[in-house]
Every structure is written in C-alpha cells, then in structure tokens.
Symmetry: C2
C-alpha cells in the first residue's frame, strides 16, 4: 500500500467525480485525512457485509461491484472507472456494504473519511444535490438493468453489455479491442448467465459480423448492428 504522495483533491483532474462541484476551499477540507491506496488487479477494496467507514473515489483504475449469490454465482452490478465514487450508498444509509468491490486492473483509490464527507454534505446543499443526482442516476440504471434482464434474452443482453463496455471504457488505440479486461466468467456475471453461454453467444455475434474475437480480446466492429440486436432505441 503506497502512501508516498497523496494528491490533494485540488489537483485531481477527474471530471466525472461527485466532488467536482466543490470549490477549492471545500476540496481542501475534503482532502484532509484523505488516504490513497494501491490495489493490484483482483484485490478487494471492500467486502459485502462490512461496515463503511468512508468513501472510496477512484483516482485511477477500474473496479467491479458484485454480489455473491447463495449458490456461489456472482452478479456484477456496476463497473466503475476513474473519478467514480464507490461505497456511498452504504455510507449514506448507514448499512453494511451490500456488494464487494474488486479491482479489475491495478488501481489507485482515495479514501475519504465518513465524518468529513457527512459534515460537508450537511452544510453544502450543492453537494447534497449532486448526491441526489448520483443516486437518481444509479437508481434509474438499476431499474433499467432489471427490465433488461427480465425482458431480454441472453443474446440481446450480451449485445447491450458490449455496447456499455465500449461507452464506459472505450477501445484500445492499437487493435480497437475493448479497453477492459473481463474474462468470460466475469462477462457472464455481468450479463447474468454462464461462461459457456457467453462463449456461444460471442461466437454467434462474430458470425453476424458485429464483433471480432482475437484470442480473448473482443473487438466491436459494427456497433449499430449490435444496438439493433440489443433492441435499443436510445
């Protein structure tokens, strides 16, 4: 765990963060007591069932939020990128984390203490408004996911997931492959199916010319066809 130089929230140029609306003075306050840790790919940031004593903010890296079902199968809820905030729901409702956060690539993640966040939240109506916005967005997304999983079949869901991955993480400049390293099992945990079905579905999508597969890398060739298969309007 590296703590050599902890960048202040003032210097952070992640634009998507919850905290970008704060002014410099507030960011200064936020940065006090802040910690930053390094997490190697595969390492856990927090576990389902633990109590939250602060907020995590991704300085650099990618994280999956997942929940373990009683039969041992995981479900991935959300994938997070630079600037995203983790574990805020548990903090806000003062409950244990209901999901486990795992680094899907090497990460630097800041940790903001509970007290500091809550004291700013109480005084700062802009921050509470931002928080409300973020919760609303996540809620909308969760309900959309529910809709999808009930109403769409695996092929449609895989197509949609691939488009989401392109949107969220972009593509590699060299080979145009997806800029996230999720293996087939993780893909199946994201889509809500099994790795075998993911494999069969990916090869179907390759046949239809939507995507290409170079080893385990996935290259999206025809996004509009994917979008059509996923039955997306927006």
């Amino acid at each position: 765990m590296n703590t050599d130089h902890i960048p202040s929230c003032l210097e952070c140029n992640n634009k998507t963060s919850l905290f970008c609306s704060l002014d410099n003075e507030e960011k200064q306050v936020l940065s006090q007591n802040k910690g930053q840790n390094f997490y190697k790919k595969g390492h856990v940031i927090f576990y389902e069932g633990n109590y939250a004593n602060g907020l995590y903010c991704i300085y650099n890296g990618k994280v999956k939020l997942s929940k373990l079902g009683s039969d041992g199968k995981q479900q991935i809820f959300r994938l997070s990128n630079n600037g995203d905030v983790l574990g805020y729901r548990a903090l806000l409702s003062n409950e244990p984390y209901q999901a486990t956060a795992t680094a899907i690539e090497d990460c630097y993640i800041c940790h903001i203490s509970k007290d500091r966040f809550q004291s700013i939240l109480k005084e700062n109506s802009r921050l509470s408004w931002k928080t409300i916005q973020m919760l609303s967005k996540d809620l909308k997304n969760a309900e959309k996911n529910l809709m999808n999983i009930v109403q769409k079949n695996v092929k449609e869901r895989v197509a949609e997931a691939l488009l989401m991955l392109v949107n969220t993480f972009g593509t590699n400049d060299k080979d145009y492959s997806l800029n996230v390293s999720l293996n087939r099992l993780e893909l199946s945990d994201l889509v809500g199916t099994t790795s075998e079905t993911i494999i069969r579905t990916l090869s179907e999508l390759k046949k239809s010319g939507c995507i290409d597969l170079k080893g385990k890398k996935i290259i999206v060739i025809n996004p509009s066809l994917l979008s059509q298969i996923a039955r997306l309007t927006d």
Copy 2:
C-alpha cells in the same frame, strides 16, 4: 376528480411519508398549491415518458409502478401504499417518468408542485437528507430485486413476493387473505414470469402447505416455510 376538501399536510397522519420530518410551518408551505385527486382502480396516475411537474403522495390507496417492455409485457417495479411518494426520481433528475403509475385500488392522491418541493428541498437539509435516505433505500431494493431475478428460480421468487406482499399490505382481518387485489397477470408482472407459471407455482405452494387458495384469494398459512423456500436469511 374530487376536490371538495383537500386535507392539509398538517392534518395528514400517514407516518411513513417523506415529509413527516418537516415542522408545521414547512408543512403549511408544502400544502399551498396542493391538489388532491381521486383515482378509480385501474386508472393511471402518470405515464412512462411524460415529464414530471410535481410529486405525488398517496393519501389513501395502493398503486403499482410498472414499465412496459418492447414485447408488450409489463414489469412491476414497486408497489406503494398510504404515505408513499411517487414520481420523485423523475422530478429529481428532471427526466421523463420511466414508469407508469396505476391505481390497483381506489385512491386519493395528493399532488405537490415541482417548484414548491424543490424550493423546500434546497433550503431544508433535513428534507434533502430524507430524500437521500429514500433514494438509497430504493436503490438497495432495486439491486436486491436484480439479484433475486437472476439468481432465483420462479418458485423462490413467488415465495419471496408473497412475503413482501404480506409485509407491505398485511392480511384481511376476516379471512386472512392478502390485503391487495393483484390478479394472476399482475402477480406474474411482479415476479417476472407468465400468468400460467404463477398459477402452477401457487398450486405447488398450496400442496406444500405454505399457502391456501380460496378462489383468486391467497392466504399465507406458513410464512416461515415460505421464507425457507425463498432462501431468505433476513
């Protein structure tokens, strides 16, 4: 649409409402410009896709929030009861409603104007805190629903849904039947299956002695067995 006597928020004794934390003066402000309408069973309070111009609060009655899938099948997200607030997510994120609200029994529902709610929200940190809490709760629930629908089979989901219905709406004093009138199709929309499968599953649950069926009425006999079947710990 009856507007004979609109009860002020001051007189409202629904304890579960978002607004119970407001003091009398604030409730007074909230009540200005308030409207109350009567909705007959089956009537729509607002439609998916419409823009929100206010907030709905159930004075008395039961409402389902559902979304129509592209294949015409509905999914019920939430069932609401006296004191519950409807349509706040769309209002908060300034987007169209993403679900349709329909009365599942005769309802009296109050309507609070967007401006009035937002102006109180901005000044009142207690109300924003309450709003954050409510969003957190709904988000947690939505994620739990997602988990359930992916990881559990129909029988388990039906068992869980029945328990939820008992918790939310209680049972009839006379015959101990569920205190909500949902038909088999609506039950299937809630659980994410078809009406035929609901019927078969209910008769299975009757055979196991969890429930009894008097016509279309459902009577929960053995909640702990249901809970076991649903694989619930909490």
